[in-house]
Symmetry: C2
Subunit: 384 residues, 2 copies
Amino acid sequence: MKTVPPMDAPAQEGMPFEDIDTPALIVDLDAFERNLSRMAEAIKDQPVRLRAHAKTHKSPVITKKQMELGAIGACCQKVSEAEVLIRNGVANVLVSNEVIGLQKLARLAALTKDAEWIGLCIDSELGLKQASEAAANAGVTLNALVEIDVGAGRCGVAPGEAALQLATLISDDPHLNFTGLQAYHGSAQHIRDHGERKAAIDETIEMTRATVDLLRENGLECEIVGGAGTGTFEMEAASGVYNELQAGSYIFMDADYARNHSEGGGPFDMFEHALFVLTGVMSRPEANKAVVDAGHKAASIDSGMPEPFSMTGMRYERPSDEHGVLFIEGSNKPPELGEKVLLVPGHCDPTVNLHDWYVCVRGLHGENPVVEEIWPVSARGAYF
Amino acid sequence: MKTVPPMDAPAQEGMPFEDIDTPALIVDLDAFERNLSRMAEAIKDQPVRLRAHAKTHKSPVITKKQMELGAIGACCQKVSEAEVLIRNGVANVLVSNEVIGLQKLARLAALTKDAEWIGLCIDSELGLKQASEAAANAGVTLNALVEIDVGAGRCGVAPGEAALQLATLISDDPHLNFTGLQAYHGSAQHIRDHGERKAAIDETIEMTRATVDLLRENGLECEIVGGAGTGTFEMEAASGVYNELQAGSYIFMDADYARNHSEGGGPFDMFEHALFVLTGVMSRPEANKAVVDAGHKAASIDSGMPEPFSMTGMRYERPSDEHGVLFIEGSNKPPELGEKVLLVPGHCDPTVNLHDWYVCVRGLHGENPVVEEIWPVSARGAYF
């Protein structure tokens, strides 16, 4: 297989913060570690396990830190992400997504030999047939969850009878092991108002509960009932129905989740911003404008603009490929040419996917911040 | 330096098109080669050189194909892109952007030893001082263009006196060689109406012409007057003022440029779509919906959604990290589970930057399309 040389890292371990080149993806290690601990603390008395989502961070290093604090493994969206996780010592991985195509499924089946537990989601008879064929070809059994659409309107069969029908087919298949339900309401994570978010998840929980009950009445026990994200995990955790949480963003917290908070409470009461894009001022064409060196290729804008951290009267706008413009409002002091600015990403996951390296800083907001570690974004670009 | 293993390619050379795994970044080689030739043809009788922009493709392979048809070299936005180009045999590279910071400038200065010609843009006295210092430290001379703001409202000093002042300082510096003007109007490329676009560039040309004249009156000749993109290059080419064109997107043509065409004419009269994201249908939850496996991590949405190619009554919407939804209008036939669909990216440059490999297909729209070559996106992630 051909290889592409990776990019160099924009920093080295031991380096003072001020020497980091820009743009760079920064982890505030102190805030990150507090976020990890707070999640572990928040669910320790609940009847749920954490299967933290690796699509957020794409880093086996981070999955292992989550597992040290009690997570049972990882979930991810793609087979190639699972390959990276397993190759780097994460032994329990759920692909929380449909996998269609014998090429991908053969790769997934092959992974079972190096892992303790591998699972995938199914929402069609074709998906079932292909997964069964791939498992048979590899001489293994694949764990399969039925995905139900609990409000997100994306993948999944309808809760209730349709789920029972598919679960029965899986259960009857000699190469598949029916393991439970995937019941994630993605779009509910970003409903701004806490009451509306709660109402949406209440419906999700009831659909899931009814389906679990229907399956049980038909002799099918759900070993896993999985779902939940950072915006709603406390609700699913307290439901008595879900037993696995798939939250991911809590480790970093992005500007979009912060907007949930400001408009009605949410996970931001518990977690802090721990991920930043460090950018440098490269042009100061006008008194109220600073052009920085981070654009579309350093920070995603699919969930809104990145926001300058802890700098009032300044907003990031008009990104192009390699530029962004900081507009300075009123008489606020603009950053000088060459000065470095921390941006809170609008959306963590696709922003992380633009970078090859995490530059992990100790004491980021203190007097002498230093680069403590550099972690590879090992599964960056793992999309198939 | 630590390294990250790159992702495998989703295809192999010689493979039939139908075996390509998804998502994949596809080049229609036939259309791509026609686009290259049409640009060469379009400017062959004009007093301008093509310095094609490598930020679009991030591929030395493609720069070399452009140079075989007459391009004099490449421009790029970042020092790290220049490093990749020069390391792979492209000897003439302009960083068409400001470079601030002694780390970056030391790397740029070091490149002069392996290249025939290296240049950068300057729009501040600090930028000048730093470039001079880096050149002096490396014992080399750096070619420097003054960037002027010709309407884009991003980087650059004002045309006229401010440009003269900075050009004079560069010209007087023992470690810098004043080479000319960078005068690119980025936002004009995407003005939908041809007449409005022309009016904007007419102003740009006049500002540039006046600045070139002012410099000449003061003894400063512009060896390079550079700018222009795919949306306006014919205007700058015919101006008699510009002598270097920096168009990039013409090789691929994205959905955003296609929207220029539909709203009043433009480069789409000359160039064809040659870049696609191939995506597979992974869920068919409803009759009018097909969920595909390409989301934010396979196609950028900063300039609008990707568009299903040559499929009427279908639109791509609601992307999430690894999913997109094709909505089928009316009685149009939806693609089946497992079927593969070509998407035209909304914006080429940040889409290419999400991928590690170009899968280059011969006869894409014919009966037996085949993977002819696989090219690395060598400068993907090269943002500093």
